[in-house]
Symmetry: C2
Subunit: 181 residues, 2 copies
């Protein structure tokens, strides 16, 4: 059976937020030099088969007003959306149901290495113990409030940090694998 | 003028908690091998002149039922406590007032490099931009809820990560310095 992995690649503030209290992400550019280097995103994305994100993240990306940035298939979790913009119909599929049902549907299309993105989506995957790996880039700014990456869980989940990388002696990136013992 | 520094050395869960929702810290031992090595605490403590902590942390340490663990002077912030246990009268001083008043009092006793400890105390120092350095050891467990290290701020605060250390490919420790530009 093909190994199936659900992975996260995300940046947070030092206090664990993925957006500030006004949903803003300008603070991601607090250290603009970081945008000039490869922080492993290309290598990460090259190894995944498809992306899974929530409606909020999908609409945020649409509102960037840039060209659709993903070359891999994107699955958008939404009970509300009825269709995707025509020009994305080849790239984006709407999915709904339980995470197990959604994953089965995605795996059946041959996508086994998945990039799970967006705060609520990541939290719901974590709640069901469905995240295998997380690469978290910490932008060392304390925002004081905002939208947190992590949320409530039914029970504690152990990971292990297997890699840490410092960029410009400013930004730190840690790679965590799920660790069950 | 002698340089004055306020430093933090603390462990948090991956989701940023310093204690679980029942105030428990057993999860700090999720990776017991970490207790067998020097994670820099001795070097850190050797360079500070005194500790500053809140009443909650002070009482937590007292309740450990162990010998008083600090060889350096400890200042306890409390408006409520009237006196410290007799056997600690030479080691612990109660202080009250604004942080500026408290710091002046401590500096006047010749203590300039301070270890700021305890969630509420760290948060109040951060709110007044009084933290210069933070060594944060991340125990890679998601608790889901608990007592957070960080809290609300009047404005975002920038740091830079200047050092990262991996222990046993499990636990990661990052050192942050206040960064103003």
């Amino acid at each position: 059976m093909t190994e199936k992995k659900n992975k996260v690649f995300i940046a947070t503030s030092l206090d664990g937020f993925i957006a500030d209290k006004d949903q803003g992400i300008e603070w991601l550019n607090s250290f603009p030099e970081i945008n000039e280097v490869d922080t492993g995103y290309e290598a990460f994305i090259s190894k995944i088969d498809a992306l899974v994100m929530g409606r909020t993240t999908f609409e945020t990306v649409l509102n960037f007003g840039i060209e659709w940035p993903y070359k891999k298939p994107v699955f958008v979790l939404s009970n509300r959306l009825k269709k995707v913009p025509d020009e994305l119909s080849g790239s984006v599929q709407l999915v709904r149901g339980t995470l197990d049902e959604i994953l089965k549907q995605i795996h059946n299309q041959g996508h086994h290495n998945l990039y799970i993105d967006g705060g609520k989506t990541i939290q719901s995957f974590l709640k069901e113990e469905l995240i295998d790996e997380m690469v978290i880039t910490t932008i060392p700014i304390l925002l004081g409030s905002g939208i947190p990456l992590f949320g409530e869980l039914s029970k504690p989940l152990k990971f292990k940090c297997i890699e840490t990388t410092l960029f410009f002696d400013k930004v730190v990136q840690n790679r965590f694998l799920r660790f069950e013992n």
